[in-house]
Amino acid sequence: MTSVVIADHGSGSTATGAPPPRVRRVGSTFDGFLGLGLVAGAAALAPVVALAVIAAGGDGGLWRHLFTSVVPRATWETSILVLGVAVFVMVVGTGTAWLVAVHDFPGRRLLEVLLLLPLAFPIYVLAYSWLDLLHPVGAFQTELRALLGIARPADLRLPDLRTLPGAVLIFGLGLYPYVYVAVRTVFLAQTAALVEAARMLGASRKRIFFRVALPLARPAIAAGTALAIMETLNDVGAAEFLSVNTLTAAVYSTWVNRGDLSGAAQIALAMLVFVSTLFLFERLGRGARGYAVVGRAVRPMNPIRVEGLAGFGLFALGALPAVLGFVVPALHLLRQAQERLAFAGFADEILVETLNTVSVAVAATLVALVVGLPMVSGRRLNPGSRLHTALLRISTIGYAVPGTVLAIGLLAVYGGVDAVIRAARGALGGAPSGLFLSASFAGLVIALTLRFFRLSASKIETGLERISPSLDQSARTLGRSPFAVMWEIHLPLMTPTLAGAALLLFVDCMKELPATLLLRPMGFETLSTHLYGEAARGTYENGALAACLIVAFGLLPIILMTRIGRRATIPAAEGAPS
């Protein structure tokens, strides 16, 4: 055995204390992961860039009109709606979370699940259902008049739901669960010890709520509220049904009713500014309060037992938003659907629409996962590569862009791509005509993928974090390329994660309305566009059936969520900008 010392101890060529050269790590070279990232990043940025380009090309006079009459009013109504919804979801979401997390009363378990159910309702379906129910010749008013002995609808004047306060109520009922879930998680898992400590110090329940629980839950409240606001801004159907002129509705009608793409793009840009400002405030507000409650011992709080009439009172109070946000509209839809089925049978169009909906949603889900896994894996397999990280961030911006805004941008992009293809075909001697991405199935799938890519990426990221990086490195030293690591290690270990992500993506794509409405092929109806069409026309023929199907699909992830148990998080919360 040799013991020759070949080493040259520590005689570096770099002087001690000199600033180290820039760090380069393994694999910041170009690879397939990067190529895919560049394509995805470009696709995500294209609609935003296109918006700016076509907005700049708009007619100056129209611009002035839009920004003196349409935009100020829409901004005002949007602001009021957003503010109202924010207050509603904060109060109702936090209140119900406190109710079920800290108290124990008969039916609490049932209530915990009931309170989640409005998530199954897209807002436009909830609005549709309530409007149908409360219509002057609808079920509720007819029964009420019969009860009061009033013959003519005109003699019984109820407050109209189609007002801003009505819209706040409907949006709030549909969106409070975002806050409820986020806050309940905090109350259940993270504050038990602190609340108990406060009780030992003799604090009353009220004092504990305001001095301990509420401040701790503030980041969760902010996160949940941000999601609710995003959904509010994204909505296109409900605001229209409820006669509220939101910015989204203005974008939509400027394009659909006036055919003015650059005008729509201008409002859409204004809206992007609005959304960015909101996010900025939300981030600033959260950033200042850097509570690190996460990671404490997860021990459920010892609930306060409330029996008898008081217990029932708590149950009734907690159940109110769930009853109004789910039970009543769901029962109404079921009854309407049942009547429709009894009267006309199952219409073929519903079958076709269901198939359309499912095929679009499945396609977009697959694309989002098939692009998402290599992008997230690629970033992980290139540690320290800023480019991979930046591309992943860029490609997920679609989540923060309201569907209508995204769709207007994509309309322009698709139009441009089609023009290029037509020109190329013309140059090659073919007919310089036809649509390729505009109003195509592929174009719709791309739009939905861009819209929900963040959900896919964040779910995959969460899943990958559970796989030790040494598994990657080990496979590399055993001869596997980065791609093979993804294929042989990440993919098999991620199967449950990917299945869960697929379900959430599928349901989100299926419920999506604004982008689908604007980008679908001619005559291509999905369940959501069908419902929108009937509600917009004021006809309700098969609408209830379509609505029932949408809600039924929407219940799937909630069932999954409750099966995961008390530590459940809401699907959208993990896709939320953080």
Binding site: S3, V26, S470, S474, S481, P492
Partner: protein
């Protein structure tokens, strides 16, 4: 130069940093074929960075890594880990949880004939004593079994060099001793060179042919276990292997004068110095005692006995180890011998804190 003297792995002036943190400040080290070298040092000394650079998991900022004459990393060269043909055993073993033991061991053999893979896997599993666990999944194995599977998996492609990252740190003391022996035997049988990272001197002494001591991104000493143990280059190296009693001294004419006596200090300039005495140097049963001392306390520790002494002329109490069966009375006056081989004299250190 014969082929056997071409290093299996050679680092030349390797530098590395994480952001502003310098991890390696010019490391040069060669590992000969069939040799087992331990990188020994405290956490954060850069030993793991060097290992990861060898594996291709990190790209060095400067310097070269050459394996059997083939450049792996250097100016404009960066072989990815999958093309290096280096085996690596991870601290957490990194067994693929979705693959059974046999598939894990055969993972690095992809592309070979099925029969060949099965034969290699069966041979390795029997050599690590897991012949009947091939169909088990990693989570069904004990810690020691997982360690063996990881070793078998890293050795399966017959790498020219095997890297081991704290291979024994997840095992309890008893298992650890056995695994050191098994691992050494397996490495010797296969003839692969190996580089092991550890913070435990016992691991290094038990397994390595040579030990490279690392501190603050530099190798401070390389040598056989005996060399680094017997002739540490500085106080820090000496202290890494055993607790020291440090006595300030003044060198005068090649002798270090201390309150505990005079020690040979060949080659040291006149001036302040430090005499470091390993605890083992003190001998309660010496035939020629050099100090008088009083027993302050004694504690039975099973395999040995710890005795706290007040040595005349020295203000601090000194803990020494002795035979547990030797009776020692508190308060007794004893004579202490000194093994001069365990005494080191070091000159003033410019960067003693590093």
């Amino acid at each position: 130069m014969t082929s056997s003297s071409v290093p299996a792995l050679a680092f030349d002036d390797v530098h590395h940093a994480y952001g502003a943190t310098r991890a390696l400040r010019g490391v040069s080290l060669s590992i000969l074929p069939g040799e087992v070298v331990a990188l020994l040092g405290p956490s954060g000394c850069g030993k793991t960075s060097l290992l990861r650079i060898a594996a291709g998991l990190e790209r060095p900022l400067a310097g070269t890594v050459v394996m059997n004459g083939r450049m792996l990393a250097g100016p404009g060269v960066m072989e990815p880990p999958e093309r290096r043909g280096i085996g690596m055993m991870f601290q957490d073993y990194a067994l693929f949880p979705h693959l059974d033991v046999a598939t894990n061991v055969g993972f690095g053999l992809a592309g070979r004939a099925r029969g060949e893979i099965e034969a290699i896997v069966a041979d390795l599993l029997s050599r690590v004593g897991l012949a009947d666990r091939g169909r088990a999944y990693p989570h069904m194995l004990s810690g020691g079994e997982q360690q063996r599977v990881a070793l078998a998996r890293a050795l399966a492609p017959d790498p020219a060099i095997l890297l081991m990252d704290e291979p024994f740190s997840n095992l309890d003391q008893r298992l650890r001793r056995g695994m050191r022996e098994e691992t050494t035997a397996l490495l010797r049988a296969g003839g692969a060179a190996a580089m092991m990272v550890t913070h435990d001197p016992d691991d290094a002494l038990a397994v390595a042919d040579r030990i490279a001591l690392m501190r603050a991104g530099r190798i401070v000493q390389v040598g056989t276990p005996e060399e680094v143990h017997r002739a540490p280059v500085d106080r820090w190296v000496a202290a890494f292997f055993a607790d020291l009693e440090e006595v300030p001294a003044t060198v005068d004419g090649g002798r270090a004068e201390t309150p505990l006596g005079s020690f040979a200090a060949p080659g040291l300039a006149d001036g302040p110095a430090l005499v470091c005495i390993r605890r083992d140097a003190f001998d309660l049963d010496a035939e020629e005692p050099v100090f008088a001392a009083r027993v302050l306390a004694t504690r039975f520790l099973g395999e040995r006995r710890m005795v706290t002494l007040a040595i005349e002329g020295w203000e601090r109490p000194v803990d020494i180890h002795t035979d547990p069966r030797r009776p020692v009375e508190v308060g007794a006056r004893v004579g202490i011998g000194l093994d001069r081989d365990e005494v080191f004299v070091f000159g003033p250190e410019p960067d003693a804190a590093a």
